[in-house]
Symmetry: C2
Subunit: 458 residues, 2 copies
């Protein structure tokens, strides 16, 4: 049967699809709180049952934490691995919710209808767009257009502790040609987006030790080395006046954005003014000479995430503290090597220490390279065309400022490129009170996947 | 009768003087803990009784907190106001004491005999050196050599909240020609010391506000202004590479140490190596070109006492925080004006803020100028000679890195210069477990005051 019949079926069945989503949203599958372990189990069971109703061989799979759901469906086309997560963020502060977070409501808003509940957007609503597209294929054609492995985890909101071991233990079973992930946003309302590059991350933390003990700033102020001044001087040395990172060799492996991609970004509907003003800024503060979007998606950063030492209480304490502490993360792009970069950053810091200052580094923090997808693979262009058709708007290969570790793990452990397609809106309030998912995101998301599957099957 | 008879009486009566001190030390007059209010009262009563036994009109005087003790003795010479405090620090951690802190013990050590108890040095032992010197005069001559007002407080270890109101309310009664304070250390063992300059203090605190809310360092890292980088850059700008404060006009009112005073300091027995190495330093870190002692006593500082923002817990949080905080104190010398300096420092900071950064200042923090005694007054040279005679060692006009607010208050409220003479040793462990006072400090301290009173009476 033709794609148009599939799409018609999706339109017809939207109310029942929303009913099903409502059922999944009623389950408070909060993964960070052990008190909700049974509810996570129930959400996994719900998905297993739903996949089985499509004729998919699905199972709940034990881990030391929350279970995985793995399902296998045979099909004619390429072998796809679809990933989503059924766990949700905690709901506090509950008093800021206008409705019960686990009693989903359809509401009319100036964006049209939305479904409001914890997990509506992140990620239950999004993962169900793919499942509903598959259901339409099943209903209309009696079969899926591709061979598909479904892979849902229940610990994404709590750091995915079981994910890597599970992927390693089941690498053969999870093998495929391409991974699909539905857990991202559209770059602007109505602009279909495929995230094709995600920044990597390097974490580090150091403590500068000065005097042997906390000192009285009267008795020792002047002669004493003050670790708070020392750490401030070192942090200040990380960047030059142009906003560039001044660590020697920091930009090795960084590539300029190709012109054609840059043109896509310039026309992707990203509203720089909205983006900046929503957080109280009037201008971008990163490397001079790069646009806000390029600073966010395609340039590396070295940020201070925590800084502390000395007295933090009310009033004054005349102390020169023995220690000062600093937490760093870098966002990585291109081919930047986190291990090599860690060495460079540590050298930069240690080269600048005063006599009598000592340093210790946290040895437990890791790093991961940027994930840059091979958008020259024909599947990427096919998917982009499919999305453009659905949204009547040229789809865009976007970057992402954040890091989605799963994309890197798919590459590293399973050897898979990942295509990240999502329909969330920036204002969906994921991780916040009153989370919602636009019914249009859900409806056109299902239609989008139907078109993408159709295109990939060819 | 001659001074020698007075000194002989002091030598004779040392055992009974130690007995008396032991009696005062048995009273756990901890002022910070309201549970010991009755014991503070008892210590005040003890002093009233002891002063009355010398024929002094002494009274316990109510305050909203712990009582003051004020006593008046007529005499022929100049009118002196002697200040000390009968309250003591808490004793915890109690498990680190080798004896009961309120069961004083005489012990033999490699420094000779010591009396070990909380308050032995700070300040009961020290204040009793003066009272015992007066007793010897009374015993031998039947009268004191000068007109003396005794003024003891019981809140010195808890911030002296009642002191300023009491001094203001009783300024006429507390008037005198010169204040004497016995609450300081000798600059080195055996080196009699008159603290003639104390650094003042300016306190300030600011918060730098960047983004409207805490931001995700992936989604905003690059374009976002990071207040932790901002505050580090500003703190780093406070000092130049030579360790000088780079705030415009900071050094206004700072004077170089006169050559003759500098020579005294160079020969005062201060052991720079001991001082530095005891806190883990190999060199002074203040302004280049000044000795450790000059950096500590006679140069101003701008120190960071607290610095914080962002995430301080275990592991990583990818946050760009909305705020960063910093607590500052400056130590002031010479004629530095705290109010004018506050304006200069705030201007320095505000001139360096990035666009989109905002700043708020704590408006509740005060400042006080340095206290520089007029050592050209003949009483200072007379006292210095008296101390030199007792210790067979040239007495030294020292500075102090810290601030003793009472010295400033005497000047400000009562119009009095203060002479700070003390016999404590750096290793007396004041505020720490196993506090002690050398019996030699006590004995020669009494003799020192006898000589000083004799000299001042002339």
């Amino acid at each position: 049967m033709s794609l148009s019949a599939i799409l018609a079926r999706i339109d017809d069945q939207l109310p029942t699809a929303l009913d099903r989503l409502t059922g999944l949203l009623r389950i408070p599958s909060i993964s960070t709180d052990p008190a909700y372990a049974a509810q996570c189990d129930a959400a996994a069971d719900w998905l297993v049952t739903d996949l089985q109703s499509l004729g998919i061989k699905a199972q709940k799979r034990r881990t030391p934490g929350r279970p995985m759901v793995v399902g296998h469906a045979d099909g004619p086309g390429p072998h796809l691995l679809f990933y989503g997560h059924y766990d949700v963020q905690p709901v506090d502060p509950l008093n800021l919710w206008h409705t019960d977070p686990f009693a989903p409501e359809l509401q009319d808003t100036d964006q049209g209808k939305v479904i409001r509940a914890r997990g509506a957007s992140d990620d239950k609503g999004q993962l169900m767009t793919f499942v509903e597209a598959c259901r339409a294929y099943k209903d209309v054609n009696g079969a899926l257009p591709c061979k598909i492995t479904f892979f849902f985890e229940g610990e994404e909101e709590s750091g995915s502790p079981s994910l890597i071991p599970f992927m390693k233990d089941n690498a053969a079973e999870l093998g495929a040609d391409l991974a699909l992930i539905c857990d991202t946003s559209m770059v602007a309302p109505g602009v279909p987006s495929i995230a094709s590059q995600l920044r990597g991350m390097l974490k580090d933390e150091f403590t500068i030790h000065g005097p042997r003990i906390d000192l009285h700033s009267g008795h020792y102020g002047g002669p004493a080395l003050n670790p708070l001044r020392e750490i401030s001087r070192i942090i200040a040395s990380f960047h030059d006046a142009e906003g560039r990172v001044a660590v020697d060799g920091f930009y090795e492996g960084v590539h300029e954005v190709p012109d054609d991609l840059l043109r896509q970004w310039e026309n992707c509907g990203f509203d720089e003014h909205d983006y900046l003003s929503s957080v109280g800024m009037t201008q971008p503060h990163g490397e001079r000479g790069y646009s806000t979007l390029v600073q966010q998606w395609a340039r590396p950063t070295l940020e201070i995430n925590g800084l502390w030492g000395g007295y933090q209480g009310a009033g004054t304490k005349t102390v020169i503290p023995a220690e000062a502490h600093c937490k760093i993360t870098c966002r990585l792009v291109g081919d930047m090597d986190p291990d090599a970069l860690r060495v460079k950053i540590r050298k930069h810091v240690e080269d600048r220490l005063s006599p009598d200052a000592k340093i210790t580094w946290n040895q437990d923090l890791d790093g991961s390279p940027a994930a840059v997808m091979n958008i020259n693979r024909p599947e990427f262009e096919a998917a982009r065309q499919a999305l453009s058709d659905e949204w009547n708007r040229e789809a865009v290969f976007t970057g992402m400022g954040g890091s989605i570790p799963i994309a890197g793990y798919f590459k590293e452990i399973l050897g898979l490129d990942a295509m990240l397609i999502g329909f969330a809106q920036e204002d969906d309030a994921i991780h916040s009170p009153n989370e919602k998912y636009n019914v249009q995101s859900f409806h056109k998301g299902i239609r989008s996947w139907a078109r993408v599957l159709d295109a990939l099957a060819k």
